[in-house]
Structures are given as C-alpha cells and as structure tokens.
Subunit: 344 residues, 2 copies
Amino acid sequence: MNGVGGGREERGPEPGEEPPAGLLEEFGRGRQRALARAISMVEDETPGFEALLDAVHERVGRARRIGITGPPGAGKSTLTKELARSYRQEGLRVGVIAVDPTSPFSGGALLGDRVRMTELASDRGLFIRSMASRGSLGGLATSTREAADLMDAFGLERVLLETVGVGQSELEIARTADTTAVVLVPESGDGIQAMKAGLNEIADLFVVNKADRPGADRLRKELEIMQRIRGGRDEEIDWEVPVLQTVASEAEGVGELLERLDAHFGRLRESGALEARRTDVRVEQARSVLLRRLERAADSQWEERRDEIRRRLASGEASPYAVAAEMEAAFRREMAAGGDPARS
Amino acid sequence: MNGVGGGREERGPEPGEEPPAGLLEEFGRGRQRALARAISMVEDETPGFEALLDAVHERVGRARRIGITGPPGAGKSTLTKELARSYRQEGLRVGVIAVDPTSPFSGGALLGDRVRMTELASDRGLFIRSMASRGSLGGLATSTREAADLMDAFGLERVLLETVGVGQSELEIARTADTTAVVLVPESGDGIQAMKAGLNEIADLFVVNKADRPGADRLRKELEIMQRIRGGRDEEIDWEVPVLQTVASEAEGVGELLERLDAHFGRLRESGALEARRTDVRVEQARSVLLRRLERAADSQWEERRDEIRRRLASGEASPYAVAAEMEAAFRREMAAGGDPARS
C-alpha cells in the first residue's frame, strides 16, 4: 500500500495496480496539475486509479459537498459561479464539477460569452472540472463521486456539483451531496412536474431563479404549498425545506442562499445525521466499485467472443438471454479454474 | 424450454426459472392482462422473467420502434398521443412506453386534465405503460428495452418510446429505437444546447413543437444550420436529418411527421442497416443482461455482509476500494467453490 493508507489495518486483496510514481506526492503537495491528472485517471479508468483513490481515502471528508440541480436552462451554472465566487471571497478553496453537458462549465468557448468564466479561470483557489457521460453502467455517478473525493482529499473546502436534475444517473449524483439545492425557473413548468421528476425527494432547498420574471411568485407559492401537503420536512434533522428566490445573473438572493446552505449543513452536523449519511454514500460507493470491477472482468471475456456472439444473435439462433446465461457460466468456470478474466 | 423457444439449437445453461404457468399461453392468445403482467415481471425482476423473455424472443422484431425524446415540457406526450391516434386510425396496434416521470402517461390523474387520455384508455388496440427508474445500474434502459420486446412479441405493430432526452440512461433508451424524433420547443433553449446534450447524435428527425410560438422559426433555422455544419446526415442509409414543425396540441404537422417516420424506416430497411442496427441492440442487450445477472449475484453476497461492511466504512478502517476488492475476492472464492451466490 502506498503512502497515506499505511496506518490502516492489514488486509488481503489490493484494490489494483499502483498509482503512477510521483502523482501521489505531487497531489499531496497541492499541485493542481496532479489533481487534474488524478481526475482524468478516474474518468478513463486508467490502471491504478482505484489504488490512487484508496491511497487518498483517509483525507476525504473535510469538504462540504453542495449539489446544484435542476432542469436545463434554469441558470444552474450562473448560480454555481456566484456561489463559487462568494466562497472564494471568504477565502475558501472551491471545486466545481459540472455534469450537465449543456453547462457553460462543460462547454468552454461555445457558450463562454454567456457566463464569463475568465474572471474565475485565473484563480488558483478554484478548480473547475466537467464530467462526461461514459459508456459503463452507472459509471457517471460513481466517477463523479470519485472526482468529488479527489477534490476533497486535495484540500478543496467546498465542492459544488452542478447536475441536470432529470435522469436516473443524474439524480443519483445529487444524492451524494451533503446539501442539494434544486433550481427551478418560472419557465420550467409547475411544481407538480418537479415533484413528479423526483426533485422533491432530493431537495434540501428550492431556489426559484430568474425571480424577476413573470410567474416566479406563483411557482414559489406552488412549491411552498406542495411542501406543506407532501411533507417537505426532514424530520431527522428538524429541517423545513425553504423556497428561496434568486436572480443569479444579478447575484440577487445569493447571500440568503449561502446562509441557508450553512444552516442546513449545521443541522446535519449537530444532529449526527451528517456522518450517517456520508457512510450511506460510502457503502453505495463500495458497492458501485465492486460492480464496476465485475463489469470490467465480464467485458474482457465478452470482447474475446464478441464476433461469435454477434453472429449468433444476428441469425436469431440464440436469444440475448441464452447468450447471457452462457457467458455467465463461462465466467464462473473461468473463476473456478483460478483464472482472472479481468487481468488476462 | 417452454413453447416458443423449442425449435432453437440445444444449449447448456438455461436463462433462469420458468415463467409462471399459464402466462405464456395467455400472452400468446393476446390477452392484454398477460402483457401487463409480463411487463410487471420485468420491472420487478420476478423470478422467471428472463425465461419469459427468452421464450417470446422469436416473436420479437416485427414492431417498429419510434423514440420521442426531448427536454421536459417539449410536448412529447401530446405528440406521442397524436402519433398513437394516427396509427390506430390506420388500424395498427400500438404500444406506448413513457419513461419520463413527468409525462402525463406516467402521471395518471394528476395531469390527466392536460392530456385527455380517456379517449385512448378504452381502446383495446392501444397499450400504454410507464416505466419507473429503479435502483439497479443501467436497469432502466435494459428493462425498457425488454418492455418494448414484450409489446413487440405480443403483436403490437408500433411501439412509441417517450423519454426525456436528458440523462445518460435516457439517451441509452433512445438509441434502441429504429427511428428517434427529438422534440424541442422555442423555450427549451437553443440548438447548440441540444447538440451539446448529445441530442444531435440520436436524432433521425428534429421536431420543433409549439411552432406557433415566438422563436420557433429561429430554432428551426438554427437546427438546420447546425445540421449542415455538423453533418446531420446518416451516410449509411442516405438520410438527411429533417427539421419539422408541429403544433401537437392542434395535431398540426403530425401528417408530415408520420410521412418522414415512414421514409426513415424505409431507408433503414432498404439499405440493410435495419437488421445490422437491431443486432447491435441485441448484442448490447445480451451484455446488459449478463451484467444484471452478475449484479444480482454480487448483491446477494453483499446483503449477507452489509452490517459488517457498513461498520468498517463508518469507522474509516477500510476504504470503499478495500471493501470492493475484498468482496470481489470473496465472490471469486464462492464461485470457485462451486457455489452460486445468486441462488443460495
């Protein structure tokens, strides 16, 4: 085991190959380049990436993770930028992970004129990263959590996760934040739609952004009524889900949002729920990592027989279920024979 | 092996327990109740569901699958309803699968006043089903494909898949349709956003819905320019991605949409690409089924040790990576010992 994990109890299996020499050291010395490289390793599943995550694991847990989620066009990026700016003014080091492919954070030049990122780009205390959807099942939620872990271990004190609040993987990501703000705009439809999209399940705060537009007050009232009817209350931490209004483009309402984010985190910590919920996230993460390992092992077997599988499925001589059952049996035989499909 | 699959080549492993007695027979006799029950089995992963899918597999492949995708609020459900109605008027049997949790198809009474589904509800040639997001990784795309297979095998001739065109799982679902219409509205942001969300990769047609609203022409032109610049052309089947305009609530433009859907399917069939692409989907399906089986096997081991795992992760004595590596080793030992974690 490398560096950081040395003090931990002895255990049998290693989480994989070692991380590249020098990277851990550079990471430990706070080089942004090392953080960028580490996140790329996670995204690309470069051999050794799990050992890297394992090695820095003991440093994870100091950052506060804040989810900013909502439909496309709700102004999440602008709000995220304002939050990042405010935290920077407090002297805190900030990480931003944008999972929305339509986010200006993800887009670089194309939408660069909308959100002026240049003012932030030169700030050494701010690290911005966008995550792309990859092919692997559940890969996005798992690797986004890992990118957040890396930022946390690196010493960033606030990690802002900007995600589109529509879609299975995307809701899963939001669930890993300590506090999630769901951002809606008058145009994004009514409160009932938000509820049905599952947004009320993940919202610790609602933010009605672009609150200077028609319909903003109506949406806020709808959300408030919905909260009362459906129970917008987190009993465990004695928290009433508030509905705030912002005009992110003018930085209006951001101060109150910051206060409420602090208040929510305070409740989490004082009630003891913070640790329990973070443990839930770690348990889910361990399970996802196990499944990713099995997926990798299965895929390497799959690749070997891809042409034959394709031929049989094309001719209709076998169903996908027959093929899957055969492959599972082969996978089991391989394991029983002491082989390791993933590393062969 | 039951019924339908009997003529197939001999093979070793079976895809699981047998489907409930009587269900296959009722399904074969065209009882809607049997179709509904079969889809529920798939959603719930009831023992025997894979055997059921295997048994009906030879009847799959006659339906045309049409994806209707786009951001929330684009009017996908209304358009889907109009397409369903038109196909019914042609005497075709139609299935609708709504994966969007905010869809009126999923919502029943709550939004029932918006889209009057009652006129369709009493039609025996129309089968409507909504699919919910489940916990399992990639589960939504896989089970949605399976629900479409069941409708296809049941004899429905058009299967309309309504999905939110945002999110990883959701784009995956859209990719399984023969033809995908991406529905946008002037309010849903510009064409560049659509492109960045990956929608241009899955669009065989663009539909600018609510075309009577301001900005519709501008959006159409933007999409057309984007198509020219980015190559909105499917060379393999000699297909130029068209940009149509509709006012779904008035059934305007639906006739042209139907023609273009037919034209696209015609190209697919004549070029030979249809079979190749459907085989790609079957290969992906087989791989997903294998991963689902491994996930199930891993989960049953996981459950046995959940408390111990949680305790060790909570105390920080182990990282999620160490836990995953240990569990993988245990999984391998179990298999090597001839055990079967999934069935123990």
